[in-house]
């Protein structure tokens, strides 16, 4: 057994950093950014080292630690990693620094990023790269010339006001009278103190989110998992509500509340199931426990299993989201800041699919068997529904959010096909989807930052102006549609092959979904990147900056590398997935793992 408490370190470092960064005064924005980047990179390095220390051939959890927390209820702080959780932690650790770097200027969105803004682009309505003041673009059309003068004036004063100037411009745009009547000192004070976005707070929220994500994957105590599952919502809620698009105050608070209420509702249903599980364990074992390893060896009567399964399943289906529970995702995806959207769809939502394979199936094998047709049905509906809606979207972020719905359908399909191939594919898909959709969101975010709008119609022909950006966009899209050679192909193929051996009709139907994927990706690319440049503003857009190149480089590299050589990840994932299915009596024709480690848990009802 490894003695280094990797998981606890991975958990504590970002959590402690979050507290430190949150305590920084607002004016230390740059320090907050640098600190956050350093910490998240350190976490990434630690996660990579932990991955090397992980022995894929050993059964059960590794790096395990367990301390009593609330002994009255048998709750302990227990962490451990298996193949599934390890790769997801790795994904989280990778995406967070990327997001930090991509959000470098998004929050303050003004003079601080001045180095990036080339001189010729002194058009007042798009003076800022951060998407925030970029929103001033539409304001020009709506409110006439007055505000432009106001904003321009204040922007000019930005030379004096430093960082505050741009923010003043943002504030000034909706109310043209204000910058004129307010004495400059007061305006500046208002922009700085109550100012709409505190940079340290943003990065502290990101760090808190990272701690939550690591925790939720690392927990091996069901209660601890639940705690992280719920606690993670709060930073995300504030990321959407406080740091979403500046102009769309009503929409972003609506999206934030919808996200929170949906998730809380699911979470509370899960809480009922969690408590139920505890009570069942108290009846079975004489003492209640939340320890996952103990719980999975427990015999639960099928009727109770079904109820508990539904409690967990609905929570995960809302989180993932699966078809009828998905309506919060497009709103939340569209209203998140770019970094938030990447983490939301890339990692947070994986908690749902992770929960399905980690908790729903091993804990309630009979119920999983019973409900599998329903889940498979929902998954296939999701694949088509998500893809069709994605084709119809004009809002690019919503579009990407809907493509995720389709992808989550594939993942759920793989998980509930009950073959180790499909299961392994599904887990790999979780990672790959994080990379490809994450990259798509990032590129869309770059576009929005340049033009200040998510509307597809505002673009067109960008490949001529920004070839590099267009190239990355295409690669992300192709990865999203699972073109052979990209990472997603491997996972999608595994899912479909694995499903085919278990359920041929479903696999055939689901395969048709890939065609729709090609349509939404290529249609989006066609509308934004190819063709003539319709809007003159687009002619002056600049290509990827050095920072943006740094942001996309690791993901692009991984998309290609994992497309060609996915073996390292598969080596980690496969044993765990095989063991999971073997444990519930679902073995493939040729089992790769010695028979069930826990004979008690082998359900008589399971067929192979």
């Amino acid at each position: 057994m490894n003695t280094v408490p990797w998981l606890t370190i991975l958990l504590i470092v970002p959590a402690a950093a979050a507290v430190v960064v949150a305590a920084l005064p607002r004016r230390h924005a740059t320090l907050a950014k640098q600190l956050t980047l350093a910490v998240t990179l350190a976490v990434l390095v630690l996660a990579v080292i932990a991955t090397f220390a992980y022995d894929p051939d050993k059964a059960g959890f590794q790096f395990g630690q367990s301390y009593d927390w609330i002994s009255t209820f048998g709750i302990s702080y227990s962490v451990g990693a298996d193949g599934i959780s390890l790769v997801l932690m790795l994904l989280a650790a990778l995406l967070v620094p990327v997001v930090v770097l991509s959000s470098w200027n998004e929050v303050d969105g003004e003079a601080a990023g001045g180095g990036r803004v080339p001189a010729p682009t002194a058009v007042p309505d798009r003076g800022t790269p951060g998407g925030s003041a970029g929103g001033a673009g539409p304001a020009v059309d709506v409110e006439g010339i007055g505000p432009v003068g106001g904003a321009g004036g204040a922007g000019g004063a930005g030379g004096v006001g430093g960082g505050a100037g741009g923010a003043t411009a943002v504030l000034a745009a909706p109310a043209p009278a204000r910058p004129v009547t307010f004495p400059p000192v007061e305006t500046r004070g208002e922009a700085e103190t109550p100012g709409r976005r505190s940079v340290p707070a943003f990065f502290a929220l990101l760090l808190a989110l990272e701690a939550g994500m690591i925790g939720v994957f690392a927990a091996t105590d069901v209660f601890l998992f639940y705690v992280f599952f719920e606690a993670m919502l709060i930073p995300m809620y504030f990321l959407i509500g406080s740091y979403g698009p500046v102009k769309e105050q009503a929409q972003r608070s609506y999206a934030a509340v919808k996200f929170l209420v949906y998730s809380l509702f699911g979470g509370l249903l899960m809480l009922a199931a969690v408590i139920g599980l505890y009570v069942v364990s108290a009846d079975n074992l004489g003492h209640g426990t939340f320890d996952f390893a103990t719980l999975r060896q427990m015999e639960i009567t099928p009727g109770v299993q079904k109820l508990l399964f539904l409690g967990f399943f609905v929570a995960f289906a809302i989180k993932a989201p699966l078809f009828p529970f998905h309506t919060w995702l497009p709103d939340a995806g569209a209203q998140s800041p770019t970094g938030g959207a990447v983490l939301l769809v890339g990692v947070l939502d994986k908690v749902g699919t992770f929960g399905l394979i980690r908790y729903c199936i091993p804990l309630f094998p009979d119920a999983a068997d019973y409900f599998a047709p329903m889940v498979l049905g929902l998954a296939v509906v999701g694949i088509f529904y998500g893809a069709l809606l994605a084709i119809g979207q004009r809002d690019m972020k919503r579009l990407v959010a809907y493509t995720s719905l389709a992808h989550f359908g594939f993942i759920a399909l793989g998980v509930f096909a009950f073959t180790s191939q499909a299961g392994t594919g599904a887990v790999l898909y979780m990672v790959n989807h994080g990379l490809s959709t994450g990259l798509l969101f990032l590129v869309v975010g770059f576009l929005v930052a340049r033009r200040g709008t998510r509307d597809v119609g505002a673009y067109g022909g960008l490949a001529k102006v920004t070839p590099l950006l267009a190239g990355v966009f295409l690669l992300a899209g192709l990865s999203s549609l699972a073109l052979p050679g990209t990472n997603s192909f491997v996972s999608e193929f595994l899912v479909l092959v694995g499903t085919f051996t278990a359920n041929k009709p479903l696999a055939i139907v689901a395969t048709c979904g890939i065609v729709l994927a090609a349509i939404y990706v290529l249609y989006l690319y066609q509308r934004t990147m190819t063709g003539p440049i319709v809007h003159p503003e687009n002619k002056v857009l600049h290509d990827l900056s050095l920072r943006e190149k740094l942001v996309v480089a690791p993901i692009v590299a991984l998309i290609v590398a994992l497309g060609v050589y996915p073996k390292p990840l598969l080596d980690i994932i496969t044993p765990t997935v095989t063991a999971t299915y073997a444990d519930i009596g679902k073995s493939d024709p040729a089992p790769t793992h010695p028979a069930a480690a826990h004979p008690v848990a082998t359900q008589p009802g399971g067929h192979s």
């Binding site: 609330i70 505190s198 709060i234 406080s242 209420v261 809380l264 249903l269 809480l271 009922a272």
Partner: protein, 524 residues
Amino acid sequence: MSADPTLLLAQAQKITPPSIEYSSLSPLLIVFAVALIGVLVDAFATRGARRVIQPILAGGGFIAALVAVAVLHGRHAVLASGAVAIDAPTLFMQGTILVFALLSVLLVAERQLDSSGGAIVASAAITPGSKGSTAQQTSADMQTEAYPLMVFSVTGMMLFVASNNLLVMFVALEILSLPLYLLAGLARRRRLLSQEAAMKYFLLGAFSSAFFLYGVAFAYGFAGSVELGKVADAVGAVGKNDTYLYLSLALLAVGLFFKIGAAPFHSWTPDVYQGAPTPVTAFMAAGTKVAAFGALLRVFYVAFGGLRWDWRPVLWIVAILTMVVGAVLALTQRDIKRMLAYSAVAHAGFLLVGLAGTNTDGLRGSMFYLVTYGFTTIAAFAAVSLVRTSDGEASDLSQWRGLGRTSPLLAGTFSFLLLALAGIPLTSGFTGKFAVFQAAIEGDATPLVIVALVCSAIAAFFYVRVIVLMFFSEPLAEGPVVVTRPTLTFGTVGIGTAATLVLGVAPQPLLDLANTAATSGFVR
């Protein structure tokens, strides 16, 4: 009855005074003595001196009583001829009440918030609109009787949870209620609203007391005694008149449900919570709830424990009604104090869910929940009192718009408290909910827990709405001012918030305490 005068005389002479263990009653006696001294201080000390002496006296008394409670731990006896029971649950609740009272005294003693000092009116007898009513708005005086009234009320609460005799319980109920009726009418600002609150509270409270008393009478008619233990014995015996029994149970329950603010007896809660001075509201919300629940637990577990299969369905219905009414009506509130009042109703419902488990876990869960809820709610009301306009507290929700931008610290703290009330993990609200829901599922009340969880989701929505207002909306041009001077209220907010966090992250010590208290059980 034979009316032989000599016999009566002989009996009278034979009556021996009950032996009273003063040491075991010391917490009660200390607080009662402090209340009396407080009255004397008010009579003889000068105005300025009163404002200094009274809070110190009250606070000191509470601390002394708290020490006495701590010393008494482990006592398990019926005292004063069966009138008072000192057992672990009693001591647990008494300690809790004292802690909350101590925190509330800090709020009452606050003088920095209002420009004229304090939330308590200068002279309650001046009716609004009459001569001098405007002058007293700015008067630096305060009705210092508030302190002894509060201490009396605490005496009543402590006796309420300790009474082993329905008649003593009724007396305690009156001791705790009468001062509260007065206190509710002492708000410095919005006098009419405050007086209306006091009047409503008094009328409805008197009504519910009558119900309670009527129930006591029926209990006597049934059991021939008002001692809880004897009632329990009579419940166990056969051949008694069951009609009296059920009438008694129903009427007693009405009186107690009124005090905890359970639907359909909750209608006083929003008006009184809104009208009363905020420190008093905080005190009421936390203290009264503990006291009333303590009495409720004792009556239901000790006296009518044998009937649990009869009262369980009633409890289910009341709990469901309370949660639904509290959560749904809170959605429609525009005033933050009213919203917190309806949230208090909903929380009373959650507490009843724990009680519906009718097991030791339920007792433990309820006691734990009472502590967590009390700390959070006191801190929340204290935070409300910090947000002010020139016209007193900015209690209208629309005035809280954008507060997260203008005063992030207060808004952050208040959001944290709201999240605790909503029951988000890592706050005490979650641990408390978990404790009661676990007890309920253990006690085969799973459907009730599902309803409770749905209501929690509804409730979360209106808490979150306030957070949305504070953080995601633009601040008002003429917004309220948040008092930033370090004051006593800061202490209360700080302690309440810290307790909310600590009980969420490391609840084990308190759970152990509650567990010990619950397993040792009620003395009969």
